[in-house]
């Protein structure tokens, strides 16, 4: 079923109210009613002779039986009759017609095809083959690399022998680098906490609806700055810090870094 858009419903409601107000208690007169309903912009779409015919039909069906009873608002969108006191007889037209015109809807005003065709391919084989090859390549790389390079295992942990320098794992070396500049609470808790929190909030702070790079230069610049900030800190912490966590050049004093 097509759902009737809200604004159309609202418009019909308004037209109905207007028509009801116009009528007051007066006797129904086809021409005037049609004109009144035409004030609502929707009613203009219904040809006048159709409106007149429906008015006439309604008048005939109710006869003079209900003189000043409340009538359901006819208006632009015809409703089922039968708000009257009696059990509603099936409305018949002047010539005994049993069908009524409910509404005239112009093609295209309500119908809206939402599903746009999307260019799709079968997951098997188009996606799975790619994934399979990627996994194979990764396995091969990992296997060969692991066969050639051994993971470090230094001497047994010794609480009495602090290595110089002592370094955190590489992904935390940016934080350790910050430790040289800020109070530990700022470097170790506040900044990383804000970083993670800021990342989580990114979709809610970035109100720009476009995903095209040329429309979001600021976001891209900011994120690149964020990534470069950490990358530079990690590289400095990894390769340019020697004994006492002092600045060194790896080509002078060697690398103080274990993965």
């Amino acid at each position: 079923m097509t759902e009737i858009p809200e604004h159309l419903l609202k418009r019909a409601q308004e037209a109905k109210a207007k028509a009801a107000a116009k009528k007051g208690g007066g006797p129904p007169s086809g021409g005037a009613d049609g004109g009144g309903a035409a004030g609502g912009d929707d009613a203009g779409k219904i040809p006048a002779h159709l409106l007149a015919r429906s008015e006439a039909a309604r008048g005939a069906s109710e006869g003079g039986g209900v003189a000043t009873a409340e009538r359901p608002a006819g208006g632009a969108v015809a409703t089922m009759p039968g708000a009257g006191a009696q059990a509603p007889p099936l409305a018949t037209g002047p010539e005994g017609h049993t069908q009524r015109l409910l509404t005239v809807v112009k093609a295209g005003s309500i119908q809206d095809v939402k599903a746009k065709p999307v260019d799709k391919v079968h997951t098997w084989p188009h996606l799975l083959v790619g994934e399979f090859v990627a996994c194979l390549a990764m396995t091969a790389f990992l296997l060969v690399f692991s066969a050639v390079v051994n993971a470090p295992l230094l001497s047994l942990a010794n609480f009495n022998l602090t290595p110089n320098p002592s370094k955190a794992p590489w992904y935390f070396l940016g934080l350790q680098e910050l430790l040289t500049m800020f109070h530990p609470m700022v470097a170790g808790v506040t900044i990383p906490g804000m970083g993670i929190f800021g990342l989580m909030l990114a979709p809610y702070t970035d109100r720009n609806p476009s995903a095209r790079p040329e429309d979001r230069k600021f976001a891209i610049a900011l994120f690149t700055l964020f990534v470069m900030f950490w990358a530079v800190l990690v590289i400095i912490g990894s390769f340019f810090r020697g004994p006492g966590f002092n600045f060194t050049f790896p080509w002078n004093d060697g690398v103080f870094f274990d993965l």
Binding site: C135, L142, A187, Y204
Partner: protein, 260 residues
């Protein structure tokens, strides 16, 4: 699959082909391989079977039957999310292997690793794969995040999946960090000392945070046990839950983001 091998003279090849065909017609075979499996008799490359391959496989049906054409391009995703997941699987498998040879106590941990190197078949290789795989996973998760950002793929309706992604990144870092202590060598001990000292500066309840992390006032065998359980059980458990939601949301939010 059911093709019989053509050989001049027939003989053995024909026999094998016939045997294969009988096997593929058996009830047992057909109960194992569901319709659409490429191992079923008479598999043909038809759109219907292409759909069945995905629908009737417990692993593949993480995917929808059809995906947008641009989503298949390697240049769009660089496979980073998928590779992160694959590395997680590799790490799980190698990690289970390592658990057979490791006891998380200060007295035994380092010796266990040492003997893993010297007296366990493929022990060193598997440990290497676990370690390098872990570093690669941190890297690939991070790069995946960068890829998603540069494509603006966190925009509606995918905001919440981005949040879950950040949580997954954090969990990945924690998993890697907890694993760092387990070899119980000088590198592990002092890296973790640096790390936990930093967390001890959490405002207001820094000391409590540090105590909970270390299972005491300083790193010791209690810390090792604690981090071991975190590393092999609790954090992977939490990660898998978030991973499930992450994958589910990818599909519910309409597949991966559109072309730029």
């Amino acid at each position: 699959m059911a093709r019989t091998v053509q050989g001049h003279g027939g003989g053995l090849a024909e026999k094998v082909g016939k045997r294969l065909e009988t096997m593929q017609s058996s009830q047992a075979w057909n109960s194992i391989f569901r319709p659409g499996s490429i191992f079923r008799k008479g598999y043909t490359d038809s759109p219907r079977n292409r759909s069945y391959v995905i629908m009737n496989s417990v692993l593949y049906h993480l995917h929808p039957v059809k995906v947008k054409r641009h989503a298949v391009k390697v240049s769009y995703t660089l496979c980073l999310g998928g590779l992160s997941f694959f590395l997680f699987i590799v790490l799980t498998v190698t990690g289970i292997f390592l658990m057979f040879f490791y006891r998380p106590t200060a007295a035994q941990a380092w010796d266990d690793i040492q003997s893993l190197h010297t007296s366990v078949t493929f022990g060193l290789l598997v440990r290497n794969m676990h370690r390098w795989g872990a570093h690669l996973m941190v890297l690939s998760v991070f790069l995946h995040m960068a890829r998603v950002f540069y494509h603006g793929a966190y925009k509606p309706p995918r905001e919440f999946n981005w949040v879950i992604g950040v949580i997954l990144l954090t969990l990945t870092l924690l998993l890697s960090f907890t694993g760092y202590l387990l070899p119980w060598d000088q590198l592990a001990l002092w890296a973790v000392t640096v790390g936990t000292n930093m967390m001890g500066y959490t405002p207001v309840f820094g000391d409590q945070v540090r105590f909970v992390l270390l299972g005491g006032v300083e790193i010791g065998t209690d810390t090792l046990l604690r981090w071991y359980v975190l590393h092999v059980l609790m954090l992977p458990f939490v990660l898998v839950i978030f991973l499930a939601v992450h994958f589910w949301r990818v599909r519910k939010d309409g597949g991966i983001s559109g072309p730029l």
